[in-house]
């Protein structure tokens, strides 16, 4: 199992690109972190999600 933004997801074995394609995220406006390491956009195709990974997908929101 993989944690993505706090939710359990059964996506181990997929690449970041493959996972994002299953979601409604707009890849242009997000950043992805895997186990507290940033995954650069250029590595989405080659980064394979492992069982136990903790992934965060973030974007900008309004703030002070």
């Amino acid at each position: 199992m993989v944690k993505i933004n706090g939710n359990d997801c059964d996506v181990s074995g997929m690449t970041i690109s493959e996972y994002l394609a299953t979601t409604d995220y707009d890849p242009k406006i997000i950043a992805v972190e895997c186990n507290e390491e940033i995954v650069p956009k250029a590595k989405y195709d080659e980064t394979v999600i492992q069982n136990g990974d903790v992934i965060e997908v973030v974007s900008f929101v309004g703030g002070g």
Partner: protein
């Protein structure tokens, strides 16, 4: 008059840094325009697949984005958020904001100094939000800060310049731009801080809680510009007692 605000080698004409929290995305464009703002703050949060709106679509392209590290409780978390913000691809400015306390939302100066050093060494233009303390501000300068952002009063309180005397000390002693951030609720307070010599004002809640946001943005703009001009004009002295006539003391219509 050539009077630029310079932060980390970048020049700005506006001295009003706008927050983008707590109001609708549709109002951002007019807020930026009416504020005359050239810098706007943003936060980083978990992305939401339901709400597809992209805040960046509402911000004019010539405006510099200033992501904050809100949500960080220590230096390590702030560094992590700052790097994610940079990965979002909108420059290398960051407002370091670290809070351990959720009641008063006061910044942790010690952790902020640590985060400032790490991020400055990593190439960020670091603008630390801080409790106005001269020693901490000096440490932030030495850590590589590009400006210092002392609070006027607790975040979102609209209470104004509760820390006035301590902000004045920073203005007098620190060679970086002092940008008063948090707690400024009214244009008159922003004007006063600018008259004191603050380099800029950051405001969010004052606008978000106003009855008419764009009108309040333009009121703040005018107040900040007025305060800046007054500072440059060097305000006149205050008598400790007595009076000083403005009119000639000769030629009265009597003998």
């Amino acid at each position: 008059m050539d009077d630029k605000l310079i932060i980390g080698g970048h020049e700005f004409n506006s001295r009003f840094i706008l927050g983008s929290g707590k109001y609708s995305l549709e109002l951002i464009e007019s807020a930026v325009k009416d504020a005359g703002a050239e810098i706007i703050t943003l936060a980083v949060r978990r992305a939401n697949t339901k709400d597809q709106e992209n805040i960046l679509d509402y911000i004019p392209k010539n405006v510099t984005l200033l992501p904050n590290t809100s949500g960080a409780r220590n230096a390590q978390e702030a560094v992590r958020i700052a790097r994610l913000a940079r990965e979002l691809g909108c420059g290398n400015f960051v407002k370091v904001e670290i809070m351990r306390d959720s009641k008063y939302l006061l910044p942790d100066n010690t952790e902020t100094i640590k985060a400032t050093e790490i991020l400055a060494n990593d190439g960020f233009v670091v603008m630390p939000y801080m409790y106005p303390d001269l020693n901490a501000a000096r440490d932030m300068v030495n850590a590589g800060a590009a400006s210092i952002m002392p609070l006027a009063s607790p975040i979102g309180s609209n209470k104004g310049l509760a820390t006035r005397e301590f902000i004045q000390i920073l203005i007098d002693e620190i060679d970086l731009p002092i940008i008063v951030d948090a707690g400024i609720g009214r244009p008159s307070q922003a004007c006063e801080a600018m008259e004191m010599g603050a380099a800029a004002i950051m405001a969010n809640t004052a606008l978000a809680t106003a009855g008419n946001l764009p009108l309040m943005a333009s009121a703040f703009r005018a107040a900040i510009e007025a305060g800046r001009k007054a500072y440059l004009a060097k305000p006149g002295r205050v008598l400790s007692r007595g009076a000083a006539a403005s009119d000639p003391l000769t030629g009265f219509l009597r003998d």
